[in-house]
């Protein structure tokens, strides 16, 4: 018998709260478009983002309590993952396992004693290059799909096949995209067969392009101000 510490119990309560508060509404989607709109809105919700930030340092416990398995979800809905997600990926389970492992590694790097403070990590500020912002969005989207899946299992919900398919598809597609970012972080190891070198990010090049684009945007803004007047 495993006895949870007070801290673990609090984290488990927070997961339950997040699954109910943010995962459950996704299960009430009435169409695929509605589901995607709900996912988009969640990634803009300050409450959902704060909750994600609170859970991030406890990644091993979070992962142990979330049945983050696309094939399991698809099976629960009574069809195979291939049917559920079309031709998105040939090996979704490997991608999910690599993504979960990379998240654990990243969490350990960021929150372990003596690690670089999060505020000093690459791209920790709000001025994010668009490539990074997009991949962080995918990370959030995959994790919200995970919370919805947790809600399916913990509440014993029966969901329609189209919704299971949409959940499995978004989970795997977004996990794959987020994994590109995680695999590019120094200190995080991901199998090259899953994320080849050609798909990893060159942070220096991204930052240089971001700064060039910002300077160009500033020049065009100043010209527009001069043209439009006060």
């Amino acid at each position: 018998m495993v006895v949870a510490t007070d801290e673990e119990r609090q984290v488990l309560h927070l997961i339950e709260f997040a699954a109910s508060g943010f995962g459950d509404p996704l299960l009430h989607a009435t169409s695929v478009d509605d589901f995607d709109d709900r996912l988009d809105a969640l990634t803009d919700s300050p409450e959902a983002l704060h909750c994600t930030e609170l859970l991030a340092p406890h990644m091993p416990l979070v992962q142990a309590s979330l049945p983050m398995s696309a094939p399991l979800l698809a099976a629960a809905a009574g069809h195979s993952l291939e049917e559920a997600q079309g031709q998105v990926s040939k090996d979704p389970q490997r991608i999910l396992e690599a993504w979960l492992d990379a998240q654990r590694q990243a969490a350990q790097l960021m929150w372990s004693t003596g690690a670089t403070p999060v505020s000093e990590a690459p791209f920790a500020g709000t001025d994010l290059p668009i490539e990074i912002e997009k991949l962080i969005f995918h990370g959030l989207r995959a994790n919200f799909c995970g919370l919805a899946i947790e809600q399916v299992f913990s509440a014993g919900r029966v969901i329609p096949a189209w919704l299971a398919g949409a959940l499995a598809d978004r989970l795997v597609v977004s996990a794959r995209q987020h994994l590109r970012l995680l695999a590019s972080l120094p200190g995080v190891s991901v199998d090259e067969a899953i994320v080849p070198d050609t798909e990893r990010l060159d942070f220096a090049a991204i930052e240089a392009r971001h700064q060039r684009a910002k300077a160009a945007s500033q020049r065009s803004y100043e010209r527009a101000r001069a043209r439009l007047g006060p």
Binding site: D40, P129, I130, R209, H210, A213, S220, A224, L228
Partner: protein, 114 residues
């Protein structure tokens, strides 16, 4: 306001766009055209898609990195539904790549609307 869908007049034409950057007095809008620019990287949005419905499109619309404009928010009509995240990121990426490559010297709408 970033990601808002907008309609506005530009050089005598009605334009549909997405707010990609916000400053205190002006917003940067990436707008679409009904004509394709096959020699430029572009995003094509069809009216019947989720993205097309958010923009309330009536025809296939082409977005390229060069078609941007700084506008005053008071001159624009804001849509009820925000742009989808995937389209917003695709649009911003086109503009960023265009700006980074050209230094913005060839932005389509940087000149007076006329």
């Amino acid at each position: 306001m970033r990601g808002a869908t907008v309609r506005f007049r530009l050089a005598g034409n009605d334009r549909i766009g997405v707010v990609i950057e916000v400053r205190p007095d002006l917003v940067h809008v990436a707008y679409g055209t009904s004509e394709p620019h096959d020699d430029w990287p572009q995003v094509v949005v069809r009216p019947e898609t989720r993205q097309g419905r958010a923009l309330v499109l009536r025809e296939v619309t082409y977005f390229s990195g060069a078609n941007t404009s700084w506008e005053s928010p008071k001159d624009m009509q804001f849509g009820k539904i925000p742009c989808t995240k995937e389209l917003l990121y695709a649009r911003v990426e086109l503009v960023v790549n265009h700006h980074a490559q050209t230094g913005d010297e060839s932005s389509a709408s940087d000149e007076p609307a006329g």
